[in-house]
């Protein structure tokens, strides 16, 4: 069974295995399929009026499935690998181990935000940015530039305390746990704020170009699991049915043909969190 661990607790060997698997998935061309799929989903969410991957209740199950698919690709390379999670409420500075050269590398240089160290630096030769929103071929970051701080544990706890998963109209700014955690209920808050704090590709529609995308979303996913454990009598997902332009509990989430929010509710079918 797959166990997802806090990145801060990984051994050197576990970090190397994760990095090597990510680089191999990139080398064979599969990684960029995930980047392109995320960009397309985001464009469709924005432009069709049907919220699937973002801004609606299926934000959480859509990304849960997206991470499971990616983790499967990593495990095709190395069955021992799982996606670590980054608790940005605790490891919340540019000096955190997640940004060390043996995991993701650090912030970008001032000239062009280019990441200059670690396995994903352009100069290392294994991480070209092929699916782009701008012409920079290198991984870019500017940690803590746009917003100085990451969400706090108190903010996370306040979101976790909400007993309702999501509420009408089930979009940007709806009351409840999902919208609060996604950050669409407040300016540059929560999940959205973390993307903005990292900057570079993480701030854009091609955010999976930065491997921290997976560690960020693994923590968001863990918080969904934590929320359910705190509210065992609350509906695990809403809406239950009949909602126009929103993915209901038993509706299929594109692009998958056989994946519904219901099928994603129990993460222990796929992995557990340590």
């Amino acid at each position: 069974m797959t166990v997802r661990k806090n990145q801060a607790n990984l051994t050197s060997a576990e970090k190397k295995a994760f990095v090597d698997a990510v680089l191999e998935v990139k080398r064979i061309g599969v990684y960029d399929e995930f980047v392109a799929a995320h960009r397309l989903r985001f464009a469709l969410d924005m432009n069709t009026g049907v919220y699937v991957g973002h801004f609606g209740p299926s934000f959480l199950p859509w990304h849960r499935k997206f991470l499971i698919d990616f983790e499967n690709e990593l495990q095709n390379v190395d069955p021992s690998v799982s996606i670590p999670y980054w608790d940005w409420t605790f490891d919340n500075t540019v000096a955190a181990s997640v940004w060390a050269p043996d995991l993701l590398g650090g912030t970008g240089r001032p000239l062009d935000d280019q990441v200059m160290d670690g396995p994903f630096a352009y100069s290392a030769g294994k991480w070209p940015i092929n699916i782009q929103v701008d012409s920079r071929p290198f991984l870019a970051r500017n940690l803590a530039y746009r917003v100085p701080t990451l969400p706090t544990r108190a903010e996370v706890d306040a979101a976790l305390a909400m007993p309702t998963y999501d509420s009408a109209p089930f979009r940007d700014g709806s009351a409840g746990f999902r919208s609060t955690l996604e950050g669409s209920a407040g300016y540059m808050s929560m999940h959205n704020r973390v993307h903005t704090w990292v900057w570079g590709q993480m701030e854009s529609s091609v955010s999976p170009n930065d491997p921290v995308f997976w560690l960020h979303h693994a923590f968001v996913d863990k918080l969904w699991a934590d929320w359910h454990a705190l509210h065992p009598t609350s509906a695990e997902y809403l809406p239950a049915g009949g909602t126009v332009d929103v993915i209901d509990l038993n509706e299929t989430m594109p692009p998958w043909t056989n994946t519904t929010p219901q099928s994603m509710l129990d993460h222990t079918l796929f992995y557990t969190y340590a």
Partner: protein, 145 residues
């Protein structure tokens, strides 16, 4: 990546209409430049969100114009009707290259480059994109890539 390939994603979305709509928008945006100079010299910040703009910001030319909805008049392609329920469709160029911008209901605008933020106007989104680019060029969205 067994299921989540791009082409399947396009086809599977919300019916083919969504993918066609997106392609139509991209095509429309690539086909014609916004009218030039309509509001040159206007003071920044005070514009309504449906107004056009054309200015040089930090050395980059940024242009914007509504394409459809209540303020639309210049394009006539009709593709804006594909944007069900979200009203405004707006076209932004940075040095002549299209930056995709989107409206999120009442909460504001974002762009493909600053996707996790909300801006009061497309002009604010364009200016922030310029600062993000640090001299790089926009790569316009192509739904077929």
């Amino acid at each position: 990546m067994s299921q989540l390939t791009r082409r399947q994603a396009v086809g599977a979305v919300t019916g083919a209409a969504a993918a066609v709509a997106l392609t139509g928008v991209a095509t429309a945006w690539a086909d014609s430049a916004p009218a030039k100079g309509k509001h040159e010299g206007a003071a920044p910040g005070g514009r309504g969100k449906d107004e056009s703009f054309d200015e040089v910001f930090q050395g980059r030319r940024i242009q914007g114009e509504p394409m459809g909805g209540a303020g639309g008049h210049a394009f006539g392609h009709g593709e804006h009707r594909a944007h069900r329920g979200h009203g405004d469709v707006y076209r932004v160029l940075i040095d002549g290259r299209e930056l995709q911008v989107m409206r999120h209901g009442k909460s504001g605008w974002s762009s493909a480059i600053n996707h996790y933020e909300r801006f009061a106007t497309p002009l604010d989104a364009a200016r922030t994109a310029v600062t993000s680019l640090k001299g790089a060029s926009v790569v316009p969205f192509d739904p077929n890539v």
